[in-house]
Symmetry: C2
Subunit: 362 residues, 2 copies
DNA sequence: CCGCAATAGGGGGAAATCCCCTAATTTTCG
DNA sequence: CGAAAATTAGGGGATTTCCCCCTATTGCGG
């Protein structure tokens, strides 16, 4: 657990320990053979089915897992999540014959560090292992083109204004223009106008299509911390450095205040908002956030329950509870529910927020 | 693996082997002590954290796992799914301090056999263990009341007609009345009428609310196999024996034919339909089906990809591929993607279908 | 065979939605 | 500060939706 994790196989002059998991002995042999050519790397074990994996992991404690997730008695996504939860420092490189973009997307979302296609040359596999061990992500070249079509519209999608987003969120909950106007303290005409422009930007014709669009492209519900004034850092991966942050608070005013503060502190963040548990979970299911700032008091509901649900769906998300009236018992149960911290609303200024966000990098 | 599973601890005269997992030594001691009073049961091991669990499972191969899922380095839902995939015959009884209904619902959905609240008496725990080993499901009494509020409206929800369901499905995809009318070969007026009645039955005012309702109560999208002519088997759990079946086919006519056949063969089934991968996945995410009958040809898409996605989201679902033009290569890749069978459309009659559905019980 | 429910179609009116326009005010940013 | 963008508000009109009313036709079960 302690000590050197990144690049330690160099510094410590000890070989990187790799575990190989695939149900075909032939494939294992081929891979083992190819990897033998790599110095500083040792294949310390082989696994041929699901149940055998975890004991091997626990016994060998490898630095890297090379795994074909299509094994018998094995649930790929659940296993990867479980592996990442239990061995956060270990690198996971998936080898597979499937090139389905959504499938790969799912595995990457579950936390794998690389995805190598079996039909690619073994030299690529060696490269993949090295890259992954160096802390990079690796995806076989043939998949990259498919995957960029996912991340590209995320960056290139239409940019909505704050008001349009507020209204779109209410639309998602099924409100009509009158209700939205009352809720936001506006005239119906204003709402109509916002909607008209919203439709135009989304390329839709009706409120129903708009909600559908929002559900299929959840990223448009995000507010970029800074409205992208700077140039978007040309060479790097477009989505890689992106951090998504979810704000859950039933108070519109405070949410706005929080949103601005987060935008200042972390301009590259994608900020999502929710005012109740349902819409929060809706957001979490579509875009698992790196960080969730959750108010303990959510009208009739409470942030503790919200925390537990977020952690159930997206264990990788860090949840920070916020309260105006710190309570010892709430504090305890909040942490037990999976929150990493419990902050007093009064203490939450830019400095503290920066601290919280910097902690994400760990 | 083979042989006696149900009630074998009686017949075989061997003690049931139970593994205990909890991060608090005190709790483990208390439970172990309580369970010692049970004859025919032996606590063969204890685990105190996530990484230690799987090696213990693999080494001890217990018949029952008693586990507090709030352990360090542990992702509850993923772990449970993984455990169920790797050790399908083992009973899993969760002990927890949380009484959040949704949380429990999630764990039950992941396949646990029982959920015992820590604040309940230890005598209840002993009972729970026995019931679970006997093949029943167990939920602490305090939770039952919360959970029935989930399953009750599922049974008591408004019953929609076939036409209303067809239209509702198209509504979900964002179509307006004209488009729906064209798609279904009806006049706009007819669509309006169906919608008016649909709204009345759902208790909503607009198409948007209707779609929202459908997303929040996915069960109303199901067609009961038989329109519940028989009495609903009074004493039993209302949803327990219920089987959900998803039909994925882009051909409306064939889908209808298939729906009727399934209704005949399996009157207690809840039948869901989808005409493309997106709506199929939408359904799967809301209601993981026991069985999915998927056409290999889905317009531009293909059933292989659909199979893989279904298995990724809901590994417990059995997928059966159906094709009008059986192809050796399709057959192979279909099974590789996780389908349990590959049927020729011509061979698919009531008898074969019954066979497929009976296989679910295994 | 009769009844009942589902299906299909239509008339008409009140309301909501959608879309074009202008214009005042505020916010934001260079 | 000044320009640009966002926000708010309204007029007016075309269209759609929603919700009553009504009438056939079809299919299915007692």
């Amino acid at each position: 657990m302690g000590g050197c994790t990144e690049g330690w196989y160099n510094r410590c002059m000890k070989k990187t320990r790799l575990l190989l998991a695939d149900d075909h002995a032939v494939v294992r042999a081929g891979i083992r053979n190819a990897l033998n050519e790599l110095a500083n790397l040792e294949v310390v074990g082989e696994v041929e089915d699901g149940p055998g994996l975890f004991p091997a992991l626990e016994k060998l404690r490898p630095d890297c897992l090379l795994i074909d997730v299509a094994m018998p008695s094995f649930d790929p996504l659940a296993a990867i999540r479980q592996i990442r939860a239990g061995y956060p420092d270990m690198k996971v490189l998936v080898i597979s014959a499937y090139d389905d973009d959504v499938y790969v997307q799912g595995l990457l979302g579950a936390g794998v560090h690389g995805y190598h296609l079996k039909d690619q040359p073994l030299s690529d596999l060696k490269l993949a292992v090295q890259r992954v061990l160096a802390g990079e992500k690796w995806v076989s070249s043939r998949l990259v083109s498919k995957l960029v079509s996912f991340s590209e519209p995320a960056a290139a999608g239409p940019t909505l204004t704050t008001r349009q987003l507020d209204i779109l969120r209410l639309l998602q909950q099924g409100m009509d223009n009158q209700t939205i106007a009352r809720r936001m303290g506006l005239s119906v005409k204003t709402v109509e106008n916002h909607l008209t422009r919203l439709y135009r930007q989304l390329g839709v014709q009706s409120r129903l299509e708009a909600v559908n669009y929002a559900n299929q492209h959840p990223h448009i519900l995000a507010i970029p911390g800074q409205t992208a004034a700077q140039k978007p850092a040309p060479p790097e991966l477009p989505v890689a450095r992106q951090v998504s942050i979810l704000l859950v608070d039933d108070n519109v005013r405070y949410r706005r205040q929080l949103r601005r503060m987060v935008g200042k502190v972390c301009p590259q963040a994608m900020i999502y908002e929710a005012e109740n548990i349902d819409s929060a979970m809706h957001a979490v299911q579509h875009v698992p956030p790196k960080l969730a700032l959750v108010d303990v008091v959510l009208g009739e509901e409470d942030g503790i329950r919200c925390t537990r649900r977020i952690k159930a769906v997206s264990p990788a998300s860090r949840v920070v509870l916020i309260s105006a009236y710190p309570d010892r018992e709430f504090h305890r149960s909040g942490l037990e529910a999976g929150a990493v911290a419990f902050l007093d609303k009064k203490d939450l200024d830019a400095a503290v927020l920066r601290q919280v966000i910097d902690d994400l990098a760990i």
